[in-house]
């Protein structure tokens, strides 16, 4: 498979189907290096990755390629552009490849998955938009998926953390004709609010969300303590007063 980006790199001709992995991996790493060096990501919000450039990765021996990719950011931790690219790459990979990726990290004892999670938390909202647009392009590039889910957009968020304000999903804005469906909430009101904020239904500032998360976890910790008190058959009058205040505070301020 050839594409215009690879052609522009003037790399040696190579038939992917018959090539040795070492040859291909060297090749792909060279592409990534040139990619991150040549693109000033994320200097502009409108900068997005071309899906044709990333399509190539689907045709490579996946296990070894992933191992190469994962070790790369650890060797060059200062390369923000590369991390950005890696995160976008992770996001558009098929689920099977994501699992392989994470399993490799687990088996190799490298905490790259968690590293990736931390990096994700540090990303600004603009970066998330870039990743979302890459994901949207990846979806629209497969005609079968588009055909099966006409008028449907499955919104995904890489490595989400409900303890952090999610920003707003600008890729899929809402209006009075849009129906939003969320999966199992597990009785977690924080997850429900996180979903409503990210989809643009509820508006809550980052600072307020931080306070909400803090109070929610205070309440969560309190209940584990309260259950112990109840099991010891003591009358936790003071504890009751405290939980009453905590709930009231949470309710009055946010819900």
């Amino acid at each position: 498979m050839r594409n215009r980006y690879l052609d522009s790199l003037a790399l040696p001709e190579i038939a992917i189907e018959s090539a040795e992995f070492s040859q291909i991996s060297t090749w792909i790493i060279a592409i990534i290096d040139q990619y991150s060096a040549s693109r000033a990501i994320p200097s502009s919000i409108s900068t997005t990755y071309s899906i044709e450039e990333l399509d190539l990765l689907y045709f490579l021996p996946q296990d070894e390629l992933i191992s190469q990719l994962i070790h790369k950011p650890l060797e060059t931790p200062a390369s923000e552009n590369y991390r950005e690219f890696l995160l976008a790459l992770y996001h558009i990979l098929p689920q099977e490849l994501k699992i392989k990726w994470l399993k490799f990290e687990l088996s190799s004892g490298v905490l790259a998955a968690n590293t990736l999670a931390y990096q994700y938390q540090e990303l600004k909202r603009d970066h998330i938009d870039i990743i979302s647009s890459v994901s949207a392009k990846a979806k629209s590039s497969t005609s079968e998926a588009e055909d099966l889910t006409q008028n449907n957009n499955f919104v995904t968020l890489a490595l989400p953390n409900i303890n952090i304000h999610p920003g707003i999903n600008t890729t899929h804005p809402i209006d009075s004709e849009v129906q939003l469906t969320m999966g199992d909430a597990h009785g977690n009101v924080l997850l429900m609010i996180h979903f409503l904020i990210y989809q643009g239904v509820m508006v809550l500032s980052e600072e307020d969300y931080r306070v909400l998360v803090s109070r929610y976890h205070e309440l969560s910790a309190f209940f584990s303590g309260l259950k112990k008190l109840l099991s010891s058959n003591t009358t936790p009058i003071s504890e009751i007063v405290i939980v009453n205040e905590k709930i009231k505070k949470l309710m009055d301020d946010f819900i």
Binding site: P94, Q95, E96, K98, I99, L102, A113, N114, A117, L148, T149, Q150, N151, N152, N153, F154, V155, T156, L159, P160, N161, I162, N163, H172, I174, S176, V178, Q179, L180, T181, M182, G183, D184, A185, H186, G187, N188, V189, L191, M192, H194, L196, Q199, G200, V201, M202, D208, V213, Y216, H217, L219, F223, L226, I240, V243, N244, I247, D252, D253, F254
Partner: protein
């Protein structure tokens, strides 16, 4: 009410279940969020799920009966395998007199119960593509079995008849919900809650409700087109990592209260991280034929239309469907 948050206009928010009676902190918080959404005229619906039955059981057994004493030990002994911390914590606070049991009943009656649906269905403008939403994954023979148990039948001559049939199922379920008799038709559920769902033992014809709420068997045949409409079955209940044709799973481990014990320094085990995907459906398909059906579960009814003039209308009138209403309804 808070001034820190507000809502934007949206067509519908659909919760795929497990919003109460699960591992969360407190059902009361979820109920208050629903009340806030309802008071803010945000339309929503709740797909009935196995964990939701925990709260419904407690409501029908205890909360709704002011003379009944909440015997936590007796009740919790039935739920040894299914976590329901959020309901348990709520009941503890009711028992201690911190939460007003009348307030909880009021919110359940006005904000939770009217929004419950056993299944939901949407189609695109041309009526050629659609989604069927249930909590657990199902295959196509479950829907007629549910209708039969409720004394209804599924009409599939055209897509509008099918949508009306789905509406009829939900309307019939609502009768049980409003009468606080939902558990009467879901009797086998306690067995499944305590022993776990065994797909080899269930009989769809006799337990279609149980299948809709508990099924974890993912080796199902995709739905065949109904009246020329190709449906995708959207479900929760089970995290699905491998894409399957005709099915879309929205469940994940995200928010399951097992990852972030240390909030400041969250260490996420990689095996969990794989399943901690965030997946939501953003759709422009329509629910059913009649927009009034959607509005039924929103605040318009609750507020008596008093505040309706304060916001712009959320739903454009749907084109008149071409179906024969006389062909739908109870079986002869």
């Amino acid at each position: 009410m808070t001034t820190k948050s507000r809502f934007n206009t949206v067509g519908l928010v659909r919760w795929m279940g497990d919003i109460v009676g699960d591992r969360g902190v407190l059902d009361y918080l979820v109920l208050k969020l629903l009340e806030y959404m309802k008071n803010s005229c945000v339309p929503y619906e709740i797909i009935l799920s196995n964990h939701d039955l925990n709260l419904i059981t407690f409501y029908e057994l205890c909360l709704n009966n002011p003379l009944a004493e909440i015997d936590m030990e007796r009740i919790t002994s039935k739920f040894t395998t299914i976590p329901f911390d959020s309901t348990e914590n709520t009941l503890i606070l009711v028992e201690l007199g911190i939460l007003d049991h009348h307030e909880i009943c009021r919110i359940i009656n006005y904000c939770y119960k009217p929004a419950l649906k056993l299944l939901s269905c949407t189609i695109n403008q041309s009526g050629t593509k659609g989604n069927i939403f249930t909590h657990a994954p199902i295959q196509e023979d479950v829907i007629p079995a549910i209708a039969q148990r409720l004394g209804l039948r599924i009409q599939t001559d055209n897509i509008y008849q099918f949508l009306r049939s789905i509406d009829n199922i939900n309307n019939a379920i609502q009768i049980y919900v409003e009468a606080n008799m939902l558990m009467d038709i879901l009797n086998p559920y306690l067995e499944y809650q305590t022993r776990g769902f065994n797909p080899k033992r269930y009989n769809i014809a006799s337990d279609p409700f149980v299948t809709t709420l508990f099924n974890k068997d993912l080796k199902l045949m995709p739905l065949t087109p109904i009246a020329g409409c190709e449906f995708v079955q959207v479900h929760g209940h089970e995290t699905v990592l491998i894409p399957r044709r005709g099915f879309e799973g929205l469940d994940s481990l995200l928010g399951k209260e097992i990852h972030f014990h240390d909030v400041k320094n969250p260490i996420i085990p990689a095996e969990y991280l794989v399943e901690m995907i965030y997946r939501a459906l953003h759709s422009r398909q329509r629910s059913g034929l009649n927009p009034q059906h959607r509005i039924r579960s929103t605040s318009h009814e609750y507020l008596g239309g008093f505040f309706a003039h304060m916001r712009e209308p959320q739903h454009k009138p749907a084109p008149e469907p071409t179906y024969e209403s006389s062909t739908c309804g109870p079986m002869a």
